[in-house]
Symmetry: none
Subunit: 189 residues, 4 copies
């Protein structure tokens, strides 16, 4: 059944969140779901296939976990919502970013993972880009912005913030970083 597959993916996600991809063991995943390892291999031919499915699960989580949003938001409101959603996600599901980072590294060696992440990243960048584009057109954001490049800066900064926070959790502030980032996008007075 498809339920079992989903259960396995969720279990794998949680184990990655706890101890990282390197320490992910098929036996632990099966045990968490309460099935035999052989049964795990009935649903997923290889560990790699299961890990790839976890990436899909992550994408679904990104789609699902969002901060509340006003109706008909302006570009600026949407941009704020973007940052708010990141913070909201960190509150609701703090392990998600860590798992994503694990996957990004894994993507260098596992094409299936890389391809999925690329899609995810392009979609994300595309959304940010179109928001910025709209903001520039409406005058809410600085006219000098190149939407595609600015989107790259924003997404890079968000990714990098997570890593930096992982290394120096006590001295790094998401709040200040995102506030500053947003103010740069605004038109010069």
């Amino acid at each position: 059944m498809d339920d079992r597959r989903a259960e396995l993916v969720r279990a794998a996600y949680e184990l990655i969140a706890e101890k990282g991809l390197e320490e992910l063991r098929t036996r632990d995943i099966a045990a968490k779901v309460g099935i035999n390892i052989a049964t795990l291999h009935y649903y997923f031919d290889t560990k790699e296939a299961l890990v790839a499915a976890v990436v899909d699960h992550i994408m679904q989580m990104f789609r699902t976990i969002k901060a509340p949003q006003v109706e008909d938001p302006t570009a600026l409101e949407e941009l704020r919502h973007l940052f708010a959603t990141q913070s909201h996600r960190r509150r609701v599901e703090p392990r998600l970013d860590f798992v994503v980072q694990e996957m990004m590294l894994r993507g260098r060696r596992d094409e299936r993972v890389r391809a999925r992440l690329e899609v995810m990243m392009l979609l994300w960048n595309g959304r940010v880009e179109s928001i910025i584009e709209r903001g520039v057109r409406s005058g809410e954001l600085s006219r000098s912005l190149d939407p595609k490049v600015a989107a790259g800066v924003v997404t890079s900064c968000m990714i990098g913030s997570n890593l930096q926070h992982g290394v120096r959790p006590t001295t790094f502030s998401f709040e200040a970083t995102y506030t500053s980032l947003l103010s740069w996008l605004l038109p010069k007075p």
Copy 2:
């Protein structure tokens, strides 16, 4: 001797660069240096200790590989040098960033690694911060910048760029990203 230790660290660094920390094997490191595994353990008690030494080696590389710099640089020149050095490093030693990312993730489970990276990160942030501070004072950079926060944005963005480039190497441009980032720091006309 200390030569052997250095050789081992270099070999480990290269193997991490090639296949990632997860697939790093003591046997491969020893083989690369042309010694017995037991000899490897004569120099490093555990694999973990060797990996920690690789982090030190990375820090040394960061200190060593730099783009050429004019004398008595202005803050702006120094900031440009910062980005130029990043590009220069990517040309001279393209694997360095990947190895750093591996270490960042490893830092979550290996305190020895995390502590070293934290030092590295704080030093880097500190340098960027003091450059920005000087730029703000001299009027080369926007007066509205908070040097500490701005430094966090810059470093986060640089880290995130690397990861993003890893996932979508063909569609992401460091050039454009850094140019845009720099322009944001400049005073509003």
Copy 3:
């Protein structure tokens, strides 16, 4: 299945008998049974657990291998049967005593082993004690005996005999020793 576990225990017992605990290798045990080492670990998590199971096997052997016994034996007959059983065991399974001695030493460092041996030893002492008690009451044995202490002497002497025989096999006689020991327990004429 339980058969495999028993096979492994028997193989381990035999290898200990041949070369001692110190030279016991999981690989040799697996090979003796004709299975992969990984399969051995399917049945026993650790070598220590397997060794502990060997102690249980030894206890079972002590319960099983006995000299023939008359019905309704007197205390004296039962005492003779005790020594006869020891001799009988040495004939049927000469390696048993050696393995027990190995385990006794191992017991100093392995609590699981020590605890099992303690039980075995207490049961044995208890049995000897109750025989002596009966003999004293019936007048078959010397009235001056303290059954508990006498049992300790008898069992100690039996253990020590084995060790002494191991060191000087040609000059030590179990026969004479046990005969003498028995005569001491008899009432003074």
Copy 4:
């Protein structure tokens, strides 16, 4: 020098006493003496040779550590002194018995060790035998004793007591055991 050899032997003895022969490591021995492992091999070709030397050291200890003895002792006094010495040794050097037991087992596989222990055992038995012989002649001990056999019983019981005490330290009493053993040797009233 001979001092170094003695130092190494003493260090080995102590390490065996602490953790058993099985966990004896040449590196630990060398470290305890404060020399290089290679130097250890300058004094003793192999670990086995060093272990054999430890047996000699043990024999020396047996000769040296004795309870105080009256002059011109009667056979009975000498017999009591035998047991007293055992107790005295256990107080002064409690690890000695354990090391001897380790060696006895080792003797099964190491001829050098076995041969030395055999000599030790024969000397010990001989001494006990001659004491008993004297006691029988003088009437202090029971006339029905065969000195050689009785000596075997006494030594076996002493060896076995140690092992039994190792397995059930709280429920076994040397005191009572030896007292009982001695009373058996006395003439029937």
